[in-house]
């Protein structure tokens, strides 16, 4: 009945990478929204990304920078998908209370951006 440890990942590193990817995705979304003006739908999408990024940042250790190094991807969809892919490695065994909400929010965001 032993739960297999399929991947030996550092949870802190994973969650920090997720936060950085989302922060960068939010930055890209704001830039695009600013370019397109007040009518741009990216204002709402950017706010959605920022909200999920803030949820992720809650789990980042206090002494770690949740912004830099900035991820290399330049596409908003790819940044969010990369964050969602990383979330598959997060443990849902109760060691990170509240992580399930983040996972759901992240998957929702990916679905919203890729639909």
């Amino acid at each position: 009945m032993r739960t297999p440890e399929v991947l030996h990942v550092d949870t802190d590193e994973t969650i920090t990478a997720i936060a950085r990817l989302l922060r960068e995705a939010a930055q890209q979304a704001w830039k695009r929204a600013d370019r397109e003006g007040p009518d741009s739908p990216w204002h709402g999408l950017g706010l959605g990304i920022v909200v999920v990024a803030a949820q992720a940042t809650e789990f980042v250790p206090a002494d770690v920078d949740p912004v830099e190094p900035v991820p290399p991807q330049g596409d908003i969809g790819r940044l969010v998908c990369a964050a969602d892919d990383l979330a598959l490695d997060l443990p849902v065994d109760g060691t990170l209370p509240g992580i399930s909400e983040l996972i759901v929010a992240l998957t929702d965001l990916r679905r919203e951006l890729t639909q």
Binding site: M1, T3, P38, H43, V51, T57, P66, L88, S100, E101
Partner: protein, 474 residues
Amino acid sequence: MTGDERSVGELLLDADFQARTLLLDVVGDDTPALLRTWGEVVQSAGELWAGLPQLSSSPADGATMQQLETMARGMHRHQLARNWPGPGELDQRLRGIAENFVRAAELVDGRDRARDTWPPAVRADVDAVKMRVMHTLYVAAHGVGVAVHQHIQDTEDRFGSKPSLNNRAVARGRDAAAQLEVFEQLAGAHVGTGFAKVMRGEHRHAVGADRLYQAMATWDVQAHRSIAAAPTATHLHLVARTQAFLSAATAHIMDAAVRTQQLDTDSFRHQLRPALESTHTSWNLVARRCEQIADRRDRPDVTLVRAAGELRAAITEVGYDKTAWARPSTIASRVDLDATVATLHQGIAAAVEAAVMTRDALNDRRMTGSARGIADWQHEYLDAAAANCMRAPIASWVDAGDIAHGRQVPLSRAVRAALEDLAEAVTDDSRRTMASASGIRQTVTMATAPAAPIRYKAPTPWAQPVRPQRGHTP
């Protein structure tokens, strides 16, 4: 299931993965099959749970699973009584999850479930198994809920919202959505004791104006609370971004009302819309600068984050169609525009308070800024000045040592003056918007209220970026 050599842990990992995939791929048309299969998933999860060792010291043990099973049975009975979604195909993704649970239950069956002498490692592993089962149910319930909401929306778009045989899925779907909402809330409360605690009791889903009204009221209160408790650039950034989005959304939804002949067209186009766009741009400038000077290690208040997320969700439910703004006719078919416009008017009034609060916070002596962010800001200003052949003071706004060490520093006079200018702009624009909005409200019969005077004070030059320019319309 013969030949399946996977362990309990592998089966549950796969179930979890399938639940996430379901949430990612689900569409409205899947709803009938999902609802038919949902009971099987919960029942198999309950059987697996019952087969796991009952460890009295385990925090994961309790009545939650029994409650969830009872709720799923209730849902099933309700669907039978109302003959919806009726007989038909099952959802293979949910069946896959249920089969994994059944197989896992077979593997754990026969073990000594009440033994008090389990070693700590085994106890911890049992807790982890239960948590993963609950997490899978939580994610899957959310996925089914997403499909049901989409199905309701699709049906309304296709057949309208008036009761008829064709759109019976609307009322019945709403019942199912409400039941799934409670299920998700209960499972969420079990899997999360941190963020979920904040969400508990707030996770409600009213439709249209009710939800929007509630979300705006909650946002308004929470923004004041969070900034009063900690007037940080991080909080101001989130507040300003959210207010900017709210201004843009107000313009878009009110435009839908105008187009469906519920508002005075000229007053909206010549007064309110430009004022809203100007307010939107002012908030964005505040947001940009606050983000720039925010302490990167600062964490925003989770309750504020939650309130912003709910406000965004309430607005997108009304005003978005996937990733784009919805057409006016679509918005008009979703909500009672009279009630929604009234709610948005209250939001416009509340935005003035938010602007004043932001101005006060920016003037707060406790405010500090990131030395690196302030230096970046100055570089932007100097580059813009050079590009526009302007003279600019070259004295550094921050100490080089503070930049090198990434310190937070008290705001210098120059930075304070620039922030004050941005705050004044957003306050003036919000007031002008409120005046224009009250004009619109009174002029369903064509009388227009005068707009508030535009501020006369020349802005601090470095408050303005090169682009985007502030959105005063010509």
